[in-house]
């Protein structure tokens, strides 16, 4: 029933962290001139509640802030409050239904007005207003009310016991916005508030001076920021557009920019760029796993409307031995080396982090075993035909393997096709434009949810550090099917009563050790059934100039979460 150990530790750590930076480098605000950041995908809005996109979330994190956020190790850090409420310090009620946040004293908005608990309450109302289409409404799930007993106190009440009550107002996804500014922008009016959405008043280190959608954002230091010696930079130019190679070049080779985001480039290209000596690559590992999903349903076009539904099991992928052989044939170490270098790690789990949830039961997958895979297929009656492709009872092991268009993914497809060829499985490759693949247009046959292919590959992760919602993705009712307009996260259409029971159990369990056991059990079940074949544990990488100090890469929150502490260093 208590998260005490994890949370008290987190609260203690956070109080220390910002101070340590302040001591190492201080001076007056704006002393270091201009900071130049390049995001090769340009932000289109500064309001994370109206766009769930990572680029918008991160750009906005320079301006608006949550009550608490995650640090580089995934610990909760108090941000606009003095301490993170826990059961131990009385901030979270014993029944886990209320959490009480106390704002720090003296906080000001960038327009000079004080931050009050009414703003906190308003942020909840804004996101849950009818017709607003708030992208982060999941964060406020089960919130019944937010009460404001005084100017600085906000009490969040949940309808059910929340073992993990840190959804609302925590992390870059759920920042506090100013009630006075957004009062007329509730619900259906949200999209009409262009000025507010482009130039939100915030508590963060910077304020927007000019916002050019999908192009460039100019920001200036917030004169009312809580620490008078921060931020070190007087202005920020936040440029968007181009491609990853160009962004990397601008930071690492020409030195025109100070920070570049999400450089999805071949490792050797990045290493060579870094050799120019102008900047360095950084990486941090979160929960992202590049994985293969195995379709357990038959997607033959002859089936018409029942294509890809549980009514028709897949002709051969329902044989666990085939799925296992496919996994055994993959050399994950080589995939990491070719595709990600230092930005990828080996994993045999779909839930690779945080450490307490990571299972070690499946580590056999770390070594490729072509011979073993062949033997496994052979012993189960899958024998090679005339063209080297294995078959049994007239069923050929021939798969259609789809993924989104991306240089690394196409390299992975080529490698895996060859390995599967060696064990006698024929593979046809298909790559689909990301905007179609990851879209959920029910009219398109090519979405990752419809999954009209035998095998598909993409990356997924979860927000924050708690895997409960993530692991619930593979319960029976999450399978995309015509009745749900093909929405849902259970791409393999995996369905097991035992698994569903674990999901239910986790939603009512509060003890961290017990939760970890359940999450691991679910992970192991998925792995040992081989319905999900993990390939690489992906880090998030970025590059910064050697003259930029204070950068701490963070995958659990916005990666520019501590821009207030960034400063110029002498070379």
């Amino acid at each position: 029933m208590k998260l005490r150990h994890a949370l008290t530790g987190a609260a203690a750590m956070m109080a220390m962290a910002p101070m340590a930076f302040a001591a190492s480098h201080s001076g007056e605000r704006g002393r270091d001139g201009e900071l130049k950041i390049i995001y090769w995908q340009a932000p289109s809005i500064m309001n994370p509640y109206l766009s769930g996109g990572t680029k918008e979330l991160e750009a906005a994190s320079l301006v608006i802030e949550p009550l608490a956020r995650y640090d580089q190790d995934g610990n909760l850090v108090a941000w606009l409050v003095d301490e993170v409420p826990t059961v131990a310090n009385g901030g979270v009620s014993e029944d886990l239904k209320t959490i009480t946040w106390k704002l720090s004293e003296g906080l000001l908005w960038s327009d000079g007005t004080p931050v009050t608990s009414a703003d906190v309450k308003f942020s909840w109302e804004y996101c849950t207003a009818e017709g607003g289409g708030c992208a982060q409404s999941e964060k406020y799930l089960d919130v019944v009310s937010v009460d404001t007993p005084d100017e600085l106190t906000a009490v969040v009440t949940f309808g059910i016991a929340k073992p993990f009550p840190y959804g609302p107002f925590v992390g870059a996804q759920a920042p506090i916005i100013q009630a006075a500014q957004f009062a007329d922008c509730m619900g259906a009016k949200a999209p009409e508030c262009t000025e507010q959405n482009f130039n939100p008043i915030g508590t963060g280190p910077f304020t927007v001076t000019e916002f050019r959608p999908n192009d460039v954002i100019t920001l200036a230091a917030n004169e009312n920021y809580r620490d008078p010696s921060k931020p070190a930079f007087a202005t920020v130019t936040f440029k968007g557009g181009g491609d990853a190679a160009a962004a990397g070049r601008a930071v690492l080779e020409t030195g025109e920019f100070d920070y570049a985001w999400n450089l999805q480039l071949a490792p050797e290209v990045l290493t060579q760029m870094e050799a120019a000596g102008k900047g360095k690559n950084i990486v941090s590992f979160g929960t992202s796993v590049e994985r293969i999903m195995v379709n357990l349903t038959d997607v033959s076009p002859d089936l018409g409307d029942e294509r890809g539904t549980a009514a028709h099991p897949h002709p051969f992928l329902t044989d666990k031995n085939v799925r296992q052989a496919l996994s055994m044939a993959i050399d994950r170490a080589l995939l990491v080396e070719v595709g990600y270098g230092d930005f990828g790690r080996l994993t045999c789990n779909v839930l690779p982090a945080p450490a307490v949830f990571a299972s070690t039961a499946n580590d056999a997958c770390l070594t490729q075993d072509i011979e073993g895979a062949k033997a496994l297929l052979e012993s189960n009656g899958w024998v090679a035909g005339a063209d080297g492709i294995r078959e049994k009872d007239g069923v050929r092991l021939s798969v259609l393997y789809q993924t989104s268009t991306n240089a690394v993914r196409q390299d992975f497809q080529a490698l895996i096709k060859q390995w599967w060829g060696e064990i006698g499985v024929e593979t046809e490759l298909r790559n689909i434009d990301a905007s179609v693949f990851f879209g959920s247009d029910p009219g398109s046959p090519d979405t990752f949810q419809k999954f009209f292919a035998d095998i598909e590959m993409y990356t997924n992760n979860f927000d924050g550090t708690d895997p409960e919602a993530y692991m619930a993705n593979w319960s029976c009712d999450q399978a995309p099917r015509p009745e749900t307009q093909w929405q849902g996260n259970n791409m393999p259409r995996f369905c097991s009563e035992e698994y569903d029971a674990l999901v239910t159990e986790m939603s009512t369990t509060g003890d961290i050790g017990e939760r970890a056991r359940l999450a691991k059990a679910m992970n192991d079940m998925l792995m040992q059934e081989y319905v999900i074949i993990p390939l690489v544990h992906r880090g998030r990488n970025a590059a910064h100039a050697n003259t930029l100090g204070g950068v701490i890469m963070n995958v659990w929150d916005s990666e520019i979460w501590n821009a207030a502490d960034w400063h110029r260093v002498e070379m």
Binding site: I45, G53, G132, S137, T194, A246, F438, Q487, N489
Partner: protein, 335 residues
């Protein structure tokens, strides 16, 4: 000719409405989802709510009529208000982009300067070098000049800008450090040094694009000149004792302009459409980049508006070309 122009302009209206309808249906049919860029961690039911907030729940014909009204009634009113300070368009819903939740036309206006500076300039330069090259190449067919011109223009056309742009950046930005590799759209020219900076940041994208445009136009110019140089009227003109300069630059050039005018007129709307790849390579973020990001994000109001403006320009400039045919060759009559 005036009669013809007026008739064609009137005819353009139904044509444009049909075109806008076809574009709308095409976008409607195309697979895609404005929520495709939202991270997978956002649950599907939230995405469904977001789609409803964008108005996607309504049937297509209502959305089409709404767009027509917003584009043809509200947007001109906004322009009128802006110029005369009136208040016709107050509280009326303009064409709103799904990505940015702001009026599409505001963003378009914001993007025009850099597009004109870079793409427009490169087109003008391309045309200005293509015409003399085409004329000289044809007049001195198979001379060294012609051979070099052919070679350079064919290479210029067959090497895609995604490669030539990156090559220039590697040479001039990374190795020599002469020019910035990233275009600063917020830069304002107000004195000599800022003008020099503007020139520096324009030089690479402009030369890449100008080479590409010049290659194409000079080929058509040359071919057309060659056709005409052998005509009987040229011989007649020479026989009459006209100077070579007059023969070539007045008689032959004028008669050779028809295909060239066609190509140039076809290219002008494309200036507005932006140079998608070149803008991307140099981070110019003009209208081309706006269109491609809108397509990738499935921002239908934005794509619809941009392609429609593009269609208007196509219709107008093809009309201009048709009128110019009559000017160049008075025998061509449409009545």
């Amino acid at each position: 000719m005036l009669n013809f122009t007026i008739r064609r302009l009137l005819l353009s209206v139904p044509v444009l409405v049909i075109i806008s309808f076809v574009i709308f249906m095409l976008l409607e049919l195309a697979p895609g989802d404005p929520m495709a860029n939202v991270p997978l961690t956002v649950p599907p039911e939230v995405k469904e709510k977001m789609r409803e907030a964008l108005g996607l729940g309504e049937p297509w014909h209502i959305r089409f009529v709404k767009w027509l009204i917003q584009f043809f009634v509200v947007e001109p009113q906004v322009l009128f208000d802006h110029v005369f300070g009136t208040g016709f368009a107050e509280d009326k819903l303009r064409v709103i982009s799904w990505q940015t939740r702001s009026p599409v036309m505001d963003i378009v206006v914001q993007r025009i300067p850099q597009t004109l500076w870079v793409v427009g300039m490169s087109y003008v330069i391309g045309v200005l070098i293509a015409l003399p090259i085409g004329v000289i190449s044809a007049y001195k067919q198979y001379s060294i000049f012609d051979q070099i011109g052919t070679f350079v223009s064919m290479i210029g056309f067959s090497v895609p800008t995604f490669f030539s742009g990156v090559l220039l950046i590697v040479i001039f930005s990374v190795n020599l450090g002469w020019f910035p590799s990233i275009y600063d759209t917020t830069h304002k020219v107000n004195d000599w040094s800022s003008f020099v900076f503007q020139m520096k940041q324009m030089i690479m994208p402009v030369s890449v694009l100008a080479l590409y445009n010049a290659a194409q136009i000079s080929r058509f110019m040359r071919a057309s000149m060659l056709d005409n140089l052998n005509q009987d009227y040229v011989r007649t003109a020479r026989a009459k004792g006209m100077t070579e300069k007059v023969v070539v630059l007045v008689h032959v050039l004028r008669n050779s302009m028809i295909p060239v005018v066609t190509v140039i007129a076809l290219g002008v709307p494309q200036v507005f459409g932006g140079a998608i790849i070149t803008e991307q390579v140099f981070k110019v973020n003009g209208l081309g980049q706006l269109l491609i990001t809108a397509i990738q994000a499935n921002d239908l109001p934005m794509v619809q508006t941009l392609t429609f403006i593009f269609a208007v320009l196509i219709v107008v400039f093809n009309l201009v070309a048709d009128v110019l045919y009559g000017v160049l060759d008075p025998r061509i009559r449409y009545d």
